[in-house]
Symmetry: C2
Subunit: 503 residues, 2 copies
């Protein structure tokens, strides 16, 4: 009975096929049959037809013109439909890349001219398949050359492409960055934290309660460390020094009780460290960087890199064009960047930096919404400088477990060897990963916590890298509105920009 | 310059949009303009038109008929094209399931009638997206009801769907199985191993060398256990008993040297255990099962389940129809199924059981090519009976590490609590997973080793489950040839079947 049933299944589908054949195949014959019934044929130049049509003189010049008009209308409609098929079907079709939200007016259901416009999405963001760790796929990034892309991890979805940049290209990017000048990636004093605490208006009891993750009424080292790592990197050792210096831990049990905590001001730790004198090696980020624009008029190498990133990620060019410029970073010997996320979680009340202009809302929460990070190694480092992914492909992610006992997986000066995955910098190699998951409906979803990474300390020589971040708002409406806004014709552009800036 | 370049990108795509607008939007006006030029309008019932047309009498009955014929031809063509769009685009489209290889003749490039036919594939096997562990997506399996599908793991890609079967359906399936009668899933004596060893014609030295994974010249317990688990389940304890009974380990160091190994016959271990008397609990699999066909004429509940599996997996109905029947399994108290893969790795020389007929080759290596396992819990078990996935979402897979010291992760009588993931049987719930990865080109790829699983020992009551395996050959040509073969018109079917059986 199993084979009988399958035959049925096949019969059913072939029935549909013949059904659609009927649609395309029979009109011709139907046509001529109806034409015969009315005593008239459709082709005016058939001699027999001419004889038949003598009485009604429908073979006149105007009749012929009319037939031709119909014929042309018909042809144009068929062509239009074929265009529609071409531009609406097939994921693999390169033409999809033109379907950036907000660029194709025929797809946008504009209900008004203001912020009430609602955008319909019949487009899926492509996402490269990882298959399994170690899987290698060929990709075509430049005409006449193919690259090999290897899957390094699935959580985050992370790939490595050797020889993405040529030696010359690496050289040009480093020179352009030096020409522009690099600035400190992080200043010694950060004032945002203090201000944010004031703005939130929390009592010491409330702050204590939030910090006390395991709710045992005491603050362990790990509970204090991650909370007060604002600019200056805390370790269990420095924390012990601070407690001793501030006489914070009265009973000397290594824990802070609410009473002990109440005696400290919000910025006591950071202020104490600054008074002691902070070394660059104590910062979260110890590097210098600059930004290089990649748009029209930019150096050919920079534009080429952008084009290759579009090919690599298969994203609509408009999205890549509207993303952050290329960031070039230099780490001197001793440089590092402790474990971090390139982009944070996005809740409904979180704004994206790049679409903020179009979002028309004010919220204290903002993140950069970097959907993808493409990291280029511009040189091979003599010693150290690996990119570490501490929890890549871990079975579970638990923020609390990142700092256990005296092992802090985020510390790239000490514990890179304990990371699940380390990429060694090789000149010209690119790695790229997704900082967000898919939402399962073809758009950007939740933050991928496994994308946590850092730059291990450079033990010998200098390390040069570049970052290309691709910014996409997980809120499709905001992304579409933003792209619509920046794609206004040049003459209207200024008006609209002014309107929004003044709001 | 970045925004200027992006504007350029948008201008380019909007140019295409306006181009296609021209196609669909302007024919109407072009039409009437041309019509005016020829002194004739297209609508015969407009009074003004009638006046204009008096001279040429193109408003006669036959002319009207002709216009209507054109209009109908045009309409039919538009409908046909829309059908084409509907049936050829969109992954999420249910109609895709009709595009089974070998069922749609228009997609197959048949170059001959024999085995030299080559099938072109412009169809991708759908694969459900997991997103992340815990992700819940709504699925529509039966009209008027929606189910929730939760991602349980990504390696393997594993989902759980509560209430997939109703209580009544579970009841019917169990009764149908009992009516048909269940047989022992595994006999006490297995003879395949002995025969395979003879066929391969290996010397004791060669076998010793293959077993000695770490190449230290000695066989550790773990090296012996996994190799000789043929029917009867070996544990470190039973191995010690065997060594003692056979006096195999002369020097009593717990290891087998080549000299000690040479003195043993190939089936010495299994024969010793059989002489001692084997208990059911010592078998790899301790259950009874039967097979229920789901094709035409089968019980409505069985056909309904098949239809729901098609909806769930989004696979072409022909593939599901041509897969194995439904397997119903009963575990009594004390029943278990130790860790195993439902389907093995597929190398070029490996045949798939289901396409073997069409493969026209002979090879000693064969596997069942079960792309997907759908497992239904027909009752809630009083105690035990979980489905365990020992290495689900592990960062790495290492077969050797499955048995370490005295902990054997494959032993579902002892170590289910050490599995990464356990699913508790709940009446009506279905779980399904992929035993193979994607090949990255829209077809079946390599075996997913993380799909290793087993049935934990039932501590209280009876456990009833059903398995639906979906068989797909990772070799697309073989799968297409097989489907082509079984989809031959009924009258030719017997001839071809006979031909192949006689080959």
């Amino acid at each position: 009975t199993a084979s009988a049933s399958s035959a049925d299944g096949i019969r059913r589908s072939s029935h549909i096929a013949s059904g659609s054949n009927k649609m395309t195949g029979t009109p011709g014959s139907q046509d001529s049959e109806e034409a015969k019934a009315s005593g008239c044929a459709t082709l005016p130049h058939n001699p027999q037809t001419e004889r038949l049509c003598n009485k009604t003189s429908i073979c006149s010049r105007s009749y012929f013109l009319l037939v031709m008009v119909f014929f042309h209308v018909y042809l144009i409609n068929v062509i239009a439909l074929l265009f529609y098929v071409h531009y609406s079907s097939g994921q693999d079709d390169d033409s999809l890349s033109h379907d950036a939200p907000g660029t194709d007016h025929s797809r946008i259901n504009s209900r008004g001219a203001s912020s009430k416009v609602e955008y319909q999405r019949d487009f899926s963001l492509p996402r490269v398949e990882g298959i399994r760790v170690g899987h290698v796929q060929k990709v075509s990034l430049t005409p006449g050359k193919s690259h090999h892309m290897r899957t390094l991890s699935l959580k985050p979805l992370l790939f490595e492409i050797p020889e993405f940049l040529s030696e010359d290209e690496c050289h040009v990017v480093m020179q352009l960055a030096q020409l522009k000048g690099l600035m400190e990636s992080q200043l010694m004093i950060q004032e945002d934290h203090e201000e944010l605490v004031k703005e939130l208006n929390l009592s010491p009891e409330e702050i204590f309660n939030l910090l006390d993750i395991n709710q045992d009424g005491q603050l362990q080292h790990t509970e204090v460390i991650s909370a007060f790592r604002d600019g200056i990197w805390l370790t269990p050792d420095t924390l012990r020094e601070i407690y001793a210096g501030l006489k914070a831990d009265k009973n000397g049990d290594g824990l802070l009780s609410l009473e002990e905590f109440r005696l400290l001001s919000n910025d006591a730790f950071q202020r104490f460290l600054q008074q002691q004198g902070v070394k660059r090696s104590q910062l979260v980020r110890n590097s210098r960087h600059t930004w290089l624009y990649q748009g029209e008029g930019a150096h050919k190498v920079l534009q080429d890199i952008k084009e290759r990133v579009i090919q690599l990620t298969r994203l609509p060019p408009a999205i890549v064009d509207l993303s952050e410029p290329l960031q070039v970073v230099r780490y001197e010997e001793g440089g590092h960047y402790h474990g971090h996320h390139d982009s944070g979680p996005v809740y409904p009340e979180t704004a994206c930096t790049h679409t903020r202009l179009a979002a028309n809302t004010s919220t204290p929460f903002e993140t950069s919404c970097r959907y993808i990070t493409v990291l280029f190694y511009l040189n091979s480092v003599e010693g150290g400088g690996e990119t570490a992914f501490p929890v890549a492909d871990n079975r579970t992610y638990d923020e609390v477990c990142l700092i256990q006992n005296d092992v802090d997986l985020l510390d790239t000066r000490k514990n890179c060897d304990k990371s699940n995955l380390r990429v060694t910098p090789t000149k010209g190699t690119a790695v790229f990963w997704y900082n967000y998951l898919s939402d399962g409906k073809g758009w950007v979803g939740e933050q991928d916590e496994y994308a946590l990474h850092g730059g291990c300390v450079v033990t010998h020589g200098t390390k040069w890298v570049a970052n290309k971040w691709i910014n996409i708002d997980p809120d499709y409406q905001r992304q579409a509105r933003y792209q619509q806004l920046v794609s206004q014709p040049q003459d209207k552009n200024n008006e609209i920009k002014n309107q929004n800036v003044c709001n």
